[in-house]
Amino acid sequence: MADTPGSIPAAKPRAAELQLPPQTTLYLDALRRLVRNRLAIAGMVILGLLLICAIFAEQLAPYDPLEQELLLRRQPPSAQHWMGMDEVGRDILSRIIFGARISLQIGIVSVSLAIVVGALLGAVAGYKGGWVDDLIMRVMDILLAFPSLLLAIAVVAILGPGLMNMLYAIAFVSIPVYARIVRASVLSVKEQDYVLAARAIGVPPTRILFRNVLPNCLTPLIVQGTLGIATAILDAAGLSFLGLGARPPTPEWGAMLGQGRGSVFTAPHIVIFPGLAIMMTVLGFNLLGDGLRDALDPRLRV
């Protein structure tokens, strides 16, 4: 309905005259709340620094992370080697910088995998209902009946130790969480009028799923996904520590701790720094995740 010149003017006052609130969207609003949250900002700063380390590892690392200087084994931090040398004479700082790349990849890739599979399963379960729903959700219940680290260990035991197998294992054990989130959202949206309307005019189910249903579960998925990356990185570090994940000489933080743990009494710096790196990364994702939850869904605030 366009205003044509000559139609009755001033019948519709402008938005400004009505003093409507400034135009905003859910995500713009959330972003505004997020940047006001100091802890979330701290998390983003930590993660930003890590991202820079991960992308520019070659340029930032002072030494080759694999090169061994056997004469400098277990040397404590010095002006040349800020974090000292590890048990076979590799520069720990360089290994930690390269390790950022591996840890971020493990966290982000495994959680993305879990979200894709989990969201699909949850959407199908919620949308189809009936025995399909029962079957999928019972299987998810069974997976949740194991402590997650134990299940991940069991999966690695089957597939064999290694970085990729560990990644699959961690993705596998986090599927149920995302399946549950998406299923719950689908159930709450399924009976809404606009979905019924879309069905009534013959929109195909997959299109309804992607256009109308899935966007509604984005908020909990973003929050849970961010916190999930933190858990994934911790679990991955644990598995590598046990010798079930990244193999030496990969500069993975958990593996560095695992290989250096024999030197804890003689050269504590070998275990202190990789552990700090893991802790800061996990803390960063936890801070950001908490901040995102508060920003995206103020009702959940505690």
């Binding site: 079930l244 552990g275 802790m279």
Partner: protein, 359 residues
């Protein structure tokens, strides 16, 4: 209440069956021939064939699964490949150490977490509150195994306050319950039948030390328990602290608290007499749920502190490709996890009638 419990037990059946299917398929999902992998590269064709026959790997899969189920119901989890010992025997030796560690960790986590949560809520929106909550956030972000190593270095090595690893100092005598109670009992008597039980219970060092009146061993065992428990309890402590704080803050905003204050009751009576009662319900749930994750964390903690429990057993045997033991341990830990969660749900329903009668 009885109906609720019965309902929960029925729901448990498919989960238990699922756990059995998963532990059963572990061995069958290994890429390649499990017999060859378990016996190693240098095994002869003949010994592999014999092993396949002995393990029943040549039978159809449903026959194998049925045998697996009936064996488990008879308490038979197979034999360990490395030691040729019954898996159940190995597990029974390791279980008490893990239980002792989990309880120690939960005990410390509750004390630290609840106190920190109360302090944080009491000094709401002050520096103390912020400090405690940031501390809790750091606590959940710390790798358990790293904290363990650091604690070991500081308290076990530098300050020498506590023993850095193991369950008992070498040289400290701890008589087994069998020797204490059943010494001189002849084979074939009814007392002799108690031997497996006393053997099992003897692996609970603290219990054994108390029952045999051995103060020195008790003190030694408790000292060994502190560091691993602190490491393992760090994450639950942080979660309990956050839950206690938020739950207490919510309750402190209620009308009846205002009434209590208006009556002129002291802040201490309001806090401990009125507010805590209602604030504790969600805290108890969280405590219960944390027991499960402790079982996972125990795997890492036991490795660090050379703690001879089930977690270390499973890691050692994965690396040694001793799958019957891995299968058995995963099964037992999962069963404990499920039953602990069930107990938590039931006790929660008992404490909060709304759950029982609600939709």
């Amino acid at each position: 209440m009885t109906r609720y419990i019965a309902q929960r037990l029925v729901l448990l059946v498919p989960v238990l069956l699922g756990i059995l299917v998963i532990t059963f398929s572990m061995l069958r999902l290994i890429p390649g021939d499990p017999a060859r992998i378990m016996l190693g590269e240098h095994a002869t064709e003949e010994s592999i064939a014999r092993f396949r026959e002995a393990m029943g790997l040549n039978d159809p899969i449903h026959v194998q699964f049925w045998r697996y189920l009936t064996n488990i119901l008879h308490g038979d989890l197979g034999r360990a490949i490395r030691t040729n010992e019954k898996v159940t025997v190995e597990l029974m030796q390791r279980l008490p150490a893990t239980v002792e560690l989990t309880f120690g960790a939960m005990f410390l986590a509750c004390i630290i977490g609840i106190i920190a949560g109360i302090i944080s809520a009491y000094y709401h929106n002050t520096v103390i509150d912020l400090g405690t909550m940031v501390g809790a956030l750091v606590g959940v972000s710390m790798p358990v195994f790293w904290l363990g190593l650091i604690l070991m270095y500081i308290f076990g090595f530098k300050l020498k306050w506590l023993p850095p690893s193991g369950r008992l100092t070498v040289g400290v005598e701890l008589q087994s319950l069998t020797d204490f109670f059943l010494a001189g009992v002849a084979e074939g008597t009814w007392q002799y039948k108690l031997k497996p039980i006393t053997d099992f219970l003897s692996n609970f060092y603290i219990l054994t030390a108390i029952l045999t009146g051995n103060g020195k061993a008790l003190w030694d065992a408790l000292k060994h328990l502190v560091l691993p428990s602190l490491a393992l309890g760090s994450i639950p402590a942080a979660i309990i602290a956050r839950m206690t704080r938020s739950s207490l803050l919510e309750v402190l905003g209620e009308d009846y608290i205002r009434t209590a204050r208006a009556k002129g009751l002291s802040e201490r009576v309001v806090l401990f007499g009125h507010a805590m009662k209602n604030a504790f319900l969600p805290v108890i749930t969280v405590i219960g749920l944390q027991f499960g994750s402790l079982l996972g964390g125990a795997i890492l903690t036991e490795t660090i502190f050379s703690w001879p429990g089930m977690g270390r057993l499973v890691v050692d045997r994965i690396l040694a490709r001793d799958y019957p033991v891995v299968q058995g341990t995963v099964l037992v830990i999962a069963l404990i996890f499920v039953f602990v969660n069930l107990l938590v749900d039931i006790s929660y329903a008992y404490l909060d009638p709304r759950i029982r009668y609600g939709s």
